[in-house]
């Protein structure tokens, strides 16, 4: 382009930005696909070995069969899965009920030392409480509590602070007018909770409960130490015992591992949106 005084100005070619954008997009997608493959590689053994009748630690093309899945869904292995259900369900129930009461009180009521208590809740939601397992073992051993029920209670405590924090954020968002309207009709606190707060804060309560369930379901070290009765051991311990056998059945191990993952994946898929919001809110990581 030539200006009126005769100087020539070089204009950048008009399609340059879009071209570099295309290049960037292709580069980005390629790197992303590479990273995705890297993350996928460690899962390959689990998938291939679970459908292979002659599986070993090595990665091989499977002799396809579903026999491994049939084999692990019987007898004591099935019983261990049931123990996991009991353990996770009880601990979720305890944490969610105690949690929703506390979250409501923190959200709506005047409480002495509220600020300090909330900081304590935030602190314990970040610090993994499972590191308390040795003193808790000594206490439980003293009272003869080394069984599934007290262990469920301890597991509920490990997810309780985060659940309180998460549910409080959701209850904060429920308009107070609705609650006052219910109060006008002489509703008791429990009625307000049951009829107004819980239905309206349900996404948060569900996300908190799922967090608690997944936390208890996957827990390994807590039941390993706190449950002394072998027939009450949940699936992770059964899986570990499997490995220590003189001739481990690798295909069964892989199949059982996958079966054990299924509830976690289903719960996550059912609530992925809740979870994402939940972690951002509950972790307090708003930037």
């Amino acid at each position: 382009m030539t200006l009126s005084d005769g100087t020539v100005v070089e204009l950048p070619p008009e399609n340059a930005p879009t071209q570099s954008n295309t290049v960037r997009k292709i580069t980005g997608n390629t790197i992303l696909a590479g990273l995705g493959l890297l993350f996928l590689v460690p899962m390959l053994w689990l998938i291939l070995a679970s459908i292979d009748t002659n599986a070993t630690w090595a990665i091989e093309w499977p002799h396809f069969s579903l026999r491994n899945f049939q084999a692990v869904l019987t007898g004591s292995l099935l019983h261990s899965l049931w123990n996991s259900v009991v353990l996770a369900f009880l601990s979720t129930l305890i944490a969610s009920v105690a949690g929703v009461f506390a979250a409501y009180s923190f959200s709506r009521r005047k409480i002495p030392f509220k600020g300090a208590l909330l900081l304590f809740i935030l602190f314990t939601s970040g610090v993994p409480l499972t590191i308390m397992v040795i003193p808790v073992y000594e206490i439980f051993a003293h009272y003869g509590w080394l069984s599934i029920l007290p262990t469920a209670v301890f597991l509920s405590v490990t997810s309780l602070p985060f659940e309180v924090y998460l549910m409080k954020n959701f209850i904060d968002a429920v308009p107070e007018d609705l609650e006052e309207a219910a109060r006008m009709e002489q509703a008791s606190t429990l009625q307000v909770l049951w009829r107004v707060i819980i239905p309206l804060a349900m996404p948060g309560i569900a996300a908190a409960a799922i967090f608690g369930f997944v936390n208890a379901w996957g827990s390994f070290v807590v039941p390993l130490i706190l449950i002394s009765n072998g027939s009450q051991q949940p699936a992770p311990i059964a899986l570990y015992t499997f490995l220590t056998l003189p001739k481990p059945e690798f295909g069964n191990i892989a199949a059982y591992s996958l079966v054990f993952c299924v509830p976690v994946f289903i719960l996550y898929a059912a609530s992925s949106r809740l979870f994402r919001e939940g972690f951002v809110l509950g972790g307090g990581v708003k930037g």
Partner: protein, 307 residues
């Protein structure tokens, strides 16, 4: 007369009193405390009391079996002196440091790269790769440990794919491999949090920088980084705290070995308490972990409560 009396009672001091009681309306009700009781009770009984008990337990001669499992008592500084001279403890502390430090670097770097690439990616690629990374995060630690063991041992997936089926990476570089496994299992969480934070950055800020011809690095350093500072610090601290307690993954993969190569503090504490019978000494090592976790936890509270 009558009317003045009425006026008298409803104005002046009476009204002031009404207002005062209005201001006073928000009193602590018994029901508020009652609602808090189950949660706080559980935390006191199964967190604060065990924590206090552990401090005492660490200074005793309690064992898992034998006479001192019943008749045990306070032994003063004996365990602390032992801890100070315990070379295995100090090496375990270093191992823990490497494990946590490596995990933080890997998780934050990969989490950020994945989150920012996912934002611009083709839809199907976003769903597939995002899904894989989230699945690796959701996978329970026992399963993750199992499949990582299979993938990195001799004849494992990585060795086979790299064309050297006989190399046993887990034996050759145990600490590096368990750290990589931990990074793999925690990146998904970081990716989701970073993704949410990236979406909160106003696009005007980025566009303005583009108009000013800011380079990619400048945009990152001057706009993205300051806006995401809180998120990044929170993710760093949470990664540190969760790695510190990640007993299961290493226990399944190496049980702290070979030798003491991957014996991070929770494993050493467990080993002393339940394999070597020294419950008290195990509790003391646990207390060191609590101390470290408290430092990270307090920093986390300061960052998270600021928002």
């Amino acid at each position: 007369m009558m009317s003045t009396a009425v006026v008298d009672t409803t104005t002046g001091p009476r009204v002031a009193e009404l207002w005062k009681s209005r201001q006073d309306k928000e009193r602590t009700k018994w029901s508020s405390i009652l609602l808090l009781t189950p949660a706080l009770g559980l935390l006191v009984v199964l967190f604060l009391i065990p924590m206090g008990f552990a401090v005492y337990l660490g200074l005793t001669d309690l064992t898992l079996l034998g006479p001192t499992s019943i008749h045990w008592g306070f032994t003063g500084m004996q365990n602390l002196t032992r801890l100070k001279q315990d070379t295995e403890f100090w090496s375990s502390l270093w191992t823990t440091g490497f494990f946590i430090g490596g995990s933080i670097v890997g998780v934050v770097f990969l989490g950020y790269v994945l989150a920012s690439l996912l934002q611009r990616a083709t839809t199907w690629l976003r769903i597939v790769v995002g899904g894989i990374v989230v699945v690796s995060w959701m996978m329970p630690a026992v399963t993750a440990g199992m499949t990582w063991y299979a993938s990195t041992t001799g004849n494992g997936t990585f060795a086979t794919l790299l064309g050297t089926p006989n190399s046993n990476f887990l034996d050759a570089q145990p600490l590096l491999i368990v750290t990589l496994a931990n990074i793999w299992s925690m990146t998904g969480f970081c990716m989701l949090v970073m993704g949410a934070a990236l979406r909160n950055i106003p696009s005007e800020a980025i566009e303005a920088a583009m108009v000013e011809n800011a380079s990619t690095w400048q945009r990152f350093r001057l706009i993205v980084l300051p806006l995401m500072r809180g998120t990044i610090i929170a993710v760093v601290l949470l990664t540190a705290l969760l790695s510190l307690a990640n007993f299961s993954l290493i226990y399944i993969m190496t049980q702290g070995g070979p030798g003491t190569a991957t014996n991070i503090l929770p494993l050493y504490s467990y080993q002393q308490a339940f394999s070597f019978n020294n419950l008290a000494y195990g509790a003391l090592i646990g207390n060191v972990m609590v101390l470290i976790a408290t430092v990270f936890g307090v920093l986390y509270v300061r960052i998270a409560s600021r928002s």
